[in-house]
C-alpha cells in the first residue's frame, strides 16, 4: 500500500497532470473574475481545495474541479516525496536538489503569503494623524468599551464570524452577541419600499428601518455593504437587538453595569505602535498641461515608545518600509488635499527572492555540469 502511495506521489505523470490542471485553473479563475469579481474568484478558485458547482435552487455543493490549495499541495507533496525517496541516489546532484528546493520554497512561500499577508489602506487628509490602516473590503463588528478616560478597549469580531450567525462569547465582554441575521451586501431604507422587509431590531438606530439583501459586488471599484442584526444577551436578559451596518457612520451606545459600550460595523482596522501624519500631498503636473508629473506624500512618522520623529517622502516606486509594513502611494483625493496609501504586510516577502536565487543557481550548476560532461566526452573522443 505504502509502496503504491510512494510510487503515485513520485510519479512524473502526476507532476504533468497537476501542472496541466494548474493551467486550466488559472485560465478559468481569471475568466471567472469578470462575473464574480477578483476577491470572490480568488477565494473560490485559488484559496480552496475544490471548485464547487451548485444546481439551481438545490442548496447542494458538488465539487467539480480541484482548487488552488489541492493542486499546490499535491505538487508540493509530489516534490517532497520524490526528493525524500530518491535522496540517497540523488544526493550528489546538487543542481537538481537546489532547483527542487527553490520550487518547493516558491510553493510554500505563496501559501505563507496567502495566509499571513494583509493588505490595507491608509487614507489621510493634509494635517491628519492616524495610527491604523483599514481593510479595503473586509468588515468587523467593533465593540468598544469607552468607559476609561484615556483608553478604549476594543473587541473586534471579524466578518467571517458574523457570517456564521451564531452566538459569540468573549471573556472581555459582559454580554454575549447572538448574530440573528447577516447579509454580506445589503441596502437600507428609512421607509417601506418594494422588495424591502422591516428590520427586526428592538433597539438602536435600526428599529423601524427597512432593508434588503443584495448580491455580492463583482466590480473592483465597488464594495459590499454588509448589515446584520445582533442581540446582546446577559445572564439577566436581553439588552436588545441592534442593526449593525456599514451604512451607519455613527456608533450605537449601550450602557450596561456602569460601563459604556459602542457598537459599530466598520472596515477591519490594523493598529500600529506608531502614527503617521500627512504633512503634504503633492500632485504636480507638467506646466501648461494636465499630465501628472508626480504624486507624493510627505508623512511624519512618530513613535512614542522610541521617541522617533522623522519625515519621509513617499512617491511612486519609493514606498516607505517600516516595522514590517510597506506603504505605497496608491491614490489621492479629488481635491488634492488627501492621500491614500496602500499598506502591505507580508512577513514572507523575501521567500520568492530566495526561491528564485536557488532555482537560478541550481539551473546554472546543471547546465555547467552537462557542459563539463559534454566537453570531457568531446575531448576524450
Amino acid at each position: 500500500m505504502l509502496d503504491r502511495l510512494a510510487i503515485f506521489f513520485t510519479s512524473l505523470r502526476l507532476t504533468v497532470v497537476l501542472l496541466a490542471l494548474g493551467l486550466v485553473l488559472v485560465f478559468w479563475g481569471t475568466m471567472a473574475q469578470v462575473q464574480i469579481g477578483l476577491y470572490q474568484a480568488q477565494n473560490e478558485f485559488f484559496r480552496s481545495f475544490f471548485i464547487y458547482w451548485s444546481p439551481v435552487d438545490s442548496g447542494w455543493r458538488i465539487p467539480i474541479f480541484p482548487g488552488g490549495y489541492l493542486i499546490g499541495g499535491m505538487l508540493l507533496a509530489n516534490l517532497v516525496v520524490y526528493n525524500l525517496r530518491f535522496d540517497q541516489e540523488r544526493k550528489r546532484n546538487l543542481g537538481l536538489i537546489a532547483i527542487h528546493i527553490g520550487v518547493g520554497l516558491l510553493l510554500i512561500g505563496q501559501l505563507l503569503t496567502d495566509v499571513f499577508s494583509t493588505e490595507s489602506m491608509l487614507h489621510l487628509r493634509n494635517g491628519e494623524t492616524k495610527n491604523y490602516s483599514e481593510a479595503s473590503s473586509h468588515f468587523e463588528l467593533a465593540v468598544v468599551d469607552k468607559t476609561e478616560a484615556t483608553t478604549d478597549r476594543v473587541i473586534a469580531i471579524p466578518q467571517d464570524r458574523l457570517q456564521r450567525q451564531e452566538e459569540i462569547r468573549q471573556a472581555d465582554l459582559p454580554f454575549s452577541i447572538r448574530v440573528h441575521t447577516f447579509y454580506n451586501n445589503s441596502t437600507l431604507a428609512e421607509k417601506e419600499q418594494e422588495g424591502f422587509t422591516q428590520i427586526n431590531a428592538t433597539a438602536g438606530i435600526g428599529a423601524g428601518a427597512w432593508w434588503r439583501e443584495l448580491p455580492r459586488e463583482a466590480e473592483m471599484d465597488r464594495r459590499d455593504m454588509p448589515s446584520g442584526i445582533v442581540e446582546l444577551l446577559t445572564p439577566q436578559g436581553s439588552l436588545g437587538s441592534y442593526l449593525v451596518s456599514a451604512y451607519l457612520n455613527q456608533p450605537q451606545v449601550v450602557d450596561f453595569n456602569g460601563r459604556r459600550y459602542e457598537l459599530r460595523l466598520r472596515l477591519e482596522r490594523f493598529y500600529k505602535p506608531f502614527q503617521l501624519r500627512l504633512v503634504e500631498f503633492r500632485h504636480d503636473k507638467y506646466p501648461g498641461t494636465d499630465i501628472p508629473k508626480n504624486f507624493s506624500s510627505r508623512v511624519r512618522v512618530q513613535r512614542p515608545d522610541t521617541g522617533e520623529d522623522r519625515e519621509v517622502l513617499i512617491y511612486m516606486n519609493n514606498p516607505l518600509r517600516y516595522d514590517g509594513d510597506t506603504y505605497y502611494q496608491a491614490s489621492f483625493d479629488q481635491d488634492n488635499q488627501g492621500t491614500v496609501l496602500q499598506v502591505v504586510h507580508n512577513p514572507s516577502w523575501l521567500t520568492p527572492y530566495f526561491a528564485c536565487i536557488l532555482v537560478g543557481l541550481g539551473l546554472l550548476v546543471q547546465f555547467l555540469r552537462h557542459l563539463f560532461e559534454f566537453a570531457t566526452k568531446h575531448n576524450a573522443s
Binding site: 525524500l84 487614507h123 494623524t129 476594543v154 466590480e219
Partner: protein, 345 residues
C-alpha cells in the same frame, strides 16, 4: 536500506511537514481581536467652530445656505440634512442629504431605482450617460438626474468625495419639483464640506427632541425605541403575554390617513382599504383618530391585535400604536386611549 522502508520514511516525513504547515496556518487564523487603544484625538483646530447649519458625519462637516421657503426639519437616521418645501398651492416636496460610504450600489443602479419609484422604466447604460446633467456641488462637479413619472418626481444630485457618495435628493409633486429646480441647484452650490477627523457622535438611545409630556400608565415599561421612534413601551400581561406601544411623529401629515392605516393593516397581514371601507374603519375621539384591527403579526406569524391612534398637532402628525397579543391589547386599550388623549404637546 530497503526500498519499502525508504517509502515509509518518505511518507512519514511528508506527513510531518504537512502537519507543521497545517498547524502554522491554523495558529495564524485568529478570530476575535482584543486590544487597547488611545482615544481618538480631538478634531483639528479648524474644526472647532462648527457652523450653525452643520451636520456631523464620519470625518466631514457639511454646511449650507437654506433657500427661502424651505423648512429645515430634523434629519432621520441616515440623513444629515432634511428639508420640507411647500409650493404656493400647498403641494409638498421632501429634500434629503444622505452620505453613504463606498459606491452605494453605483449611480446607474440608483438612478434606475429612483425611476422605478416614480413609475418610469429603467434605462440602459448608454441612455443613463445621456441623462446625466452636470451640476456644481460645493465647488466640485457633480451629476444631476431628473425622473418625472406618473407617481411623482425625483431630482437627485450625486457627488463622489473621498470614498463617500453624497446624495442630494428632492422628491415630491412633479410640477413643484420642476418649479424649484433652479433653487435646488443654487442650494447645491451653497453646500460646503469642511473635512477633518471628528469624534464619533454618540447616538441618543431615544430621541428626546420634541418629546411631549405624558403620564405613563402603570405596567408600561419604557425601553429604547431607536431613532425612528419618539418612545417605546413594553407591556407584559398575564402568562407572559406581551404587547408594545410605539410613539412616533412625522412632519406634515406623515403620508395621510389611508397610507398609515394601510401600513398598520399590512403589519397584521390585512389587505388595504380604500374609500368608504377605510372611512368606516376609523373613529374620531376629539382630536384623536382611532383605528382597530385584528390579524396575524407579519413578523412572527402569530395572532395579534392593533390599536392605532393619530393626532395632528401644530403641523406634525403623531402616531401611537398599541400592538401585541390580543388579550393584552384588549386589556390595555382603555389605558392606551387615555394615554393618547392626555398627552400635552
Amino acid at each position: 536500506m530497503s526500498r519499502k522502508l525508504l517509502n515509509t520514511l518518505s511518507l512519514l516525513k511528508l506527513t510531518g511537514i504537512l502537519l507543521s504547515v497545517g498547524l502554522a496556518i491554523g495558529c495564524g487564523q485568529d478570530g476575535i481581536k482584543v486590544y487597547t487603544v488611545s482615544k481618538e484625538s480631538a478634531p483639528p483646530t479648524e474644526m472647532s467652530a462648527v457652523p450653525e447649519h452643520a451636520a456631523p458625519t464620519s470625518g466631514t462637516q457639511l454646511k449650507w445656505k437654506t433657500p427661502d421657503g424651505w423648512q429645515e426639519i430634523p434629519p432621520g437616521t441616515m440623513r444629515v440634512a432634511s428639508f420640507k418645501v411647500t409650493g404656493a398651492d400647498g403641494k409638498q416636496a421632501d429634500v434629503s442629504v444622505i452620505p453613504l460610504p463606498g459606491s452605494a450600489g453605483g449611480d446607474f443602479s440608483n438612478v434606475n431605482r429612483w425611476r422605478g419609484q416614480v413609475g418610469l422604466a429603467p434605462v440602459t447604460e448608454e441612455e443613463f450617460a445621456k441623462l446625466t446633467q452636470p451640476v456644481e456641488i460645493a465647488g466640485q462637479p457633480g451629476a444631476l438626474y431628473e425622473a418625472v413619472g406618473d407617481s411623482g418626481c425625483i431630482l437627485a444630485a450625486i457627488q463622489h468625495r473621498e470614498g463617500t457618495v453624497w446624495f442630494f435628493k428632492m422628491t415630491g409633486d412633479g410640477s413643484l419639483v420642476t418649479q424649484v429646480k433652479p433653487v435646488f441647484v443654487e442650494f447645491l452650490k451653497s453646500v460646503q464640506f469642511v473635512t477633518g477627523e471628528t469624534m464619533p457622535v454618540a447616538v441618543p438611545e431615544v430621541v428626546s427632541n420634541g418629546k411631549p409630556n405624558w403620564s405613563v400608565p402603570t405596567g408600561w415599561q419604557e425601553v429604547s425605541g431607536g431613532q425612528f421612534l419618539v418612545a417605546k413601551f413594553v407591556i407584559t400581561g398575564t402568562g407572559g403575554a406581551q404587547a408594545g406601544v410605539n410613539v412616533s411623529s412625522s412632519a406634515s401629515d406623515g403620508g395621510g390617513l389611508a397610507a398609515n392605516v394601510n401600513r398598520w393593516r399590512k403589519q397584521l397581514g390585512l389587505s388595504e382599504l380604500t374609500g368608504e371601507e377605510l372611512a368606516k374603519s376609523v373613529q374620531s375621539l376629539g382630536p384623536v383618530t382611532l383605528v382597530e384591527m385584528v390579524g396575524q403579526d407579519a413578523r412572527t406569524s402569530q395572532p395579534a391585535a392593533l390599536v392605532g391612534a393619530m393626532v395632528s398637532q401644530a403641523g406634525q402628525m403623531w402616531f401611537y400604536k398599541l400592538m401585541g397579543e390580543a388579550k393584552v391589547v384588549a386589556a390595555q386599550k382603555t389605558a392606551f386611549i387615555q394615554f393618547v388623549q392626555g398627552v400635552k404637546y
